[in-house]
Symmetry: C2
Subunit: 555 residues, 2 copies
Amino acid sequence: MQKKQNRLRIIPLGGLDGIGKNMTVIEYGADMMIVDAGLMFPDDDHPGIDLILPDYSYVLKNKDRLRGIVITHGHEDHTGALPYLLKELDRPVPVLGTKLTLGLVKNKLEEHKIKRPKLREIRAGGHVTLGGFGIDFFAVNHSIPDGVGLFIRTAVGSILHTGDFKLDQTPIDGRLTDYGALAKFGKAGVTLLMSDSTGAENKGFCRSEAEVGRALRETIANAEQRVLVASFASHIHRLQQVCDAATAAGRKIVVTGRSMVNNTKVARELGYLNIDPDDIVDAYDSHGLPPEKVVILCTGSQGEPLSALARMANGDHKTVQVEKGDTVIISASPVPGNEKAVSRVINRLSKAGCNVVHKGNADVHVSGHASAEELKLMLNLTKPDFFVPIHGETRHLAAHAKLAQAVGIDEENVFILDNGDCLEIDEEYAQLGDRVPSGVVYVDGVTVGDVGQIILRDRQHMSQDGFVSVVIAIDTRTGKVAGEPQVITRGIVMDEDSEMMADLKARLTKALAKTGREGVTDSAVVKRAVRESISQFVWERTKSRPMIVPVVMEV
Amino acid sequence: MQKKQNRLRIIPLGGLDGIGKNMTVIEYGADMMIVDAGLMFPDDDHPGIDLILPDYSYVLKNKDRLRGIVITHGHEDHTGALPYLLKELDRPVPVLGTKLTLGLVKNKLEEHKIKRPKLREIRAGGHVTLGGFGIDFFAVNHSIPDGVGLFIRTAVGSILHTGDFKLDQTPIDGRLTDYGALAKFGKAGVTLLMSDSTGAENKGFCRSEAEVGRALRETIANAEQRVLVASFASHIHRLQQVCDAATAAGRKIVVTGRSMVNNTKVARELGYLNIDPDDIVDAYDSHGLPPEKVVILCTGSQGEPLSALARMANGDHKTVQVEKGDTVIISASPVPGNEKAVSRVINRLSKAGCNVVHKGNADVHVSGHASAEELKLMLNLTKPDFFVPIHGETRHLAAHAKLAQAVGIDEENVFILDNGDCLEIDEEYAQLGDRVPSGVVYVDGVTVGDVGQIILRDRQHMSQDGFVSVVIAIDTRTGKVAGEPQVITRGIVMDEDSEMMADLKARLTKALAKTGREGVTDSAVVKRAVRESISQFVWERTKSRPMIVPVVMEV
């Protein structure tokens, strides 16, 4: 038992089964710390779900040992579970992050009405102690400013956690990934490297953010009418480059879309985004400006149906209508699953006569994640004893594991983990310990955690084949069917007065006559008979299997 | 009226609002012909729908004038509506296609039990007359062998229809796109060019199919265990290259997946796919072979959940299980909308320890569609008076229109049409005539055409928020509520014995008491009151809006 106490335990609760809900628990002795608490956006497998959180019940069960939560950067896949987690912790646990990260987090916590969170600003190059953890923060480049990685020292070993990163040699803010620190940690000895795998399948080096500037400047300078630019609202360096290109072309900047307005406000207040107040115009005041004097910064780069860009494309935005000859720059890459939605917006804009400039036809986007050569460089700089690829789908983790082997790390020292796995490290070895509870928590409207697989399966079933509800009243005195059975359908082809409906009712009457003859009074048995006969009837006629919902009313 | 009779009328019924359901009606005088009759595969906006057909009611209305249907190649987006169309035509209309195209079509028509179709084999370089249309066929390269384009002559002008094409300088079968014919038609005078727009956003020249061979040969030669290759079953040249690479590496070939088995059978019988019978092994007999002696050709390159590859990845394929160290080549590109499904399969295979080789990490796929430079070459060879970009989403048509302008075609002579538009051409001009009915027809199970927007909207509504059905019995003698109201829910969080359910029932009782006090007996009014009170209650509690289905039983 004493021995076990001295192990370093690394437990990823999210981030290993897809891009999103990144969260890692690290334990040593009596102390626990968390790196990131992110959310994941749902896909079509999760109809009606708003957000997906990692299952952090293990943290709640051990909350007395939790010394702090470190947030590596301000993206929602690293911060979005934080409000939910903080609400469930009954004491204010310190949340550590850099200035911009905390600025963005603060906004979110306020929306969730979380009072007096214990936010602790840290800086790249700084050091803090949380219980038995000594943590150094180092600067990393990413598609949001002010990102950091962590070097965590304990008595039995050290962990280097990269956060999300790329190695940009010409970053917009001049803040390079801290190669010196990485080399220093490498020399001091990295027991375990946990490194961002998102870009592991991409060959070579990721292009510099600065390269996007050229295409933006050229497109904006050559545009004859209005220019609209859709991008991620948190991509402050991208926004800076758009604003610089706009002012260089003598254009004013209009900001629209809720998150774009919020984030530019925070970033300007904290000094991360520099725009002359004279160059910004309110959307309502922009109508007076000639089209060739405006750049509109907006949300909607993912084709979100309610975003500013989608509304403009559909002609139902409250202040901006796109016109023939306008230029629209989509300065982003579709997140997997959003390709069709983005294409839909491009089609609408093309139809309206806009010149649509996107990743497919111009260099208006680069990734924020390290490609293969950068990942190998990270491995070579830090020279870890053990390696856990993080942040990615299995394919990315597997590709990253191969890169590690290519630079000489033994296969047996590379651990491709699942969420909930526990990697235990002591002075001598690393090995898997007992798993902890893990999984996902669905947020649906204001409902957190109650939506389960049955509900999702029912939703998918109904979306594929609709439902048929058959309502029968049974007279409790006689045990006989009272009144006319009613049949309600949704999502299937069967009109109220169709021949098929008449046939279905005839089949139903026959089934009920049979249960009547057999003297069945148990409503569960009646329901089953109804379900079977209707299910069979609909299959015969339509080759579809709607959900059958029999209701027996006792009157 | 006489004048109008002498116009050439071009009416695309599909293919202009997305990739798929390609179909163009061409009319001259009393004659009508059709080029292609394809289907489209549904996306997530069409829950439960199996196939989408173009609305060809205009053809049915004018079927007496229909002289023939020409199929350019054997892909389903050009052939898939044919069985449905032929069933609704009450006489055997000639279907024209090349040998392989008809071979594949014949299979489909047999599945649909269409007796004695009037199939007429044509060949590239051949000529046929259909009423007032004189048609020359010319060879084109595409991702299926034996594709043709059409040069259609009438007394008032000519149409060059490319079908789907690319300009492959080193095609696998040595059959080049017929540049000589194109130049000859260009010299003779092309009034209207209709050209494939799918690749219009891609710069440069599309790479040759032959280039894929290198990567396939190398991957298969270097594999240490079994190799699985997933590809489109109709991509015969790709399959030929896989088989050649397999035999070069001393491996036997196993074919699995229904369409893969069917298509390779047809292609081998007709001489389009050459495999020594000794090199093919039945899947059931493959277990005796050492893993390093097998290549398995399978379906599933689009991540289809029931395909051979997906089943193998999930461990539930009847004859093949993937093992650690197997190599899986996905020799295809995900069709837009399928990215996530493909990724899911790659993740499963990675998890199983397979080495997954795909477009993202090796040159194992090229497109079958011409890129920008090829499209410009087509425009320059044919020198049309008028141009209609076809086969693509709006973004592709718009990009293609720009290419036409870049090679000197006036903007006013380029027509970006919608499905159902009618372009009229006579000796002097081209202009839009009256539109014809157009749209989509959904195939859902065996139901063709009855599924409409309301049904799809209901399905989507239920998939997002579920439903609540409230059943009330009313005693017709007293007009009062009889028995206990019943509440049935699916797809929302509300357990039978939850507090929320109790509260909902209380709210319902209150609403019914109110209608009772007000002496309401009209069941429509009772239903409305129930719907409003329940809808409001659920919104207050969950911020969701399930479908509310009130049922009033009269007993």
